[in-house]
């Protein structure tokens, strides 16, 4: 699941608190992006909450529902990823 992102322009944070109020019309994921490399915006951390019980075979082996923190690792994201080719490193859930 790739999803969409909206990034705050020209601001950089290392130690911070970010708070959002989120609402959506289904049980899929939303969350906060952080640590995005301004020189390579494909590299970032993602903290997300998800209430769906997908996927049957998640590449990071953590099936929903979850609250998870991941980090992009530079590998391409696509629909055929395996745990070995996953484009993100699982940090914690």
């Amino acid at each position: 699941m790739m999803g969409c992102m909206a990034i705050v322009k020209d601001s950089f944070y290392t130690d911070f608190i970010m708070e959002i109020t989120a609402r959506h019309d289904d049980d899929d994921a939303s969350g906060i992006i952080f640590g995005m490399d301004p020189n390579d915006k494909s590299m970032f951390y993602k903290s997300m909450m998800n209430n769906d019980d997908f996927f049957d075979t998640p590449t990071d082996l953590v099936q929903g529902p979850f609250l998870k923190i991941t980090k992009k690792n530079g590998k391409p994201c696509n629909g055929t990823m395996t745990p070995e080719t996953d484009c993100k490193n699982f940090i914690y859930f």
Partner: protein, 170 residues
């Protein structure tokens, strides 16, 4: 305050239902029951306030459920974490984000220091208190705008930027 008092101690790891630095390969069934509160927030257009705290190499992400339980994770970030840009993520239908607040809590942050002096008090940084200040309300309207200086540091307050972003994806 966004839920992190004095940078530590506001929440203990025991309050996080899945603990800290657990090492399991699969999402265990017993955890699913703990996440039951998670179903409270985003079905049928319900809302949730989601908070992420990153400080000194640790990340805490949580929300408070309808049952007033803290549902969250607390972990150590990789050693090469260097900060960066922040933003919103959505992989859901018709997501709406409101009341977005970001507070820089790094040592290099410019603290919101002017309120103490603006109120006519003296900021004592050794104790973190505003001392003195006016004892009564003014009786006359000032003839000119007040001036103040950002030379007093209040260690418990930091600037917060607020944004409102609505994302609609079908």
């Amino acid at each position: 305050m966004l839920g992190y008092s004095a940078r530590e101690g506001a929440f203990t790891k025991d309050q996080f239902l899945n603990g800290r630095l657990a090492s399991v390969d699969y999402f265990p069934n017993e955890y699913a029951a703990e996440y039951e509160d998670f179903t409270q927030h985003n079905l049928n257009a319900k809302t949730v306030t989601f908070t992420l705290i990153v400080y000194e190499g640790e990340a805490r992400a949580y929300f408070t459920s309808a049952k007033n339980n803290i549902i969250g994770v607390w972990t150590t970030l990789p050693s090469d974490y260097a900060g960066g840009m922040v933003g919103l993520f959505m992989g859901a239908h018709q997501a709406t984000f409101t009341s977005i607040k970001i507070a820089d809590i790094s040592d290099a942050a410019t603290p919101m220091t002017n309120k103490c002096k603006f109120d006519g008090a003296t900021c004592d940084t050794t104790v973190g208190l505003c001392l003195g200040g006016p004892t009564s309300f003014p009786t006359a309207t000032p003839s000119s705008a007040p001036t103040f200086f950002e030379d007093c540091q209040d260690p418990f307050r930091h600037p917060a930027s607020e944004y409102v972003v609505n994302l609609f994806v079908s």
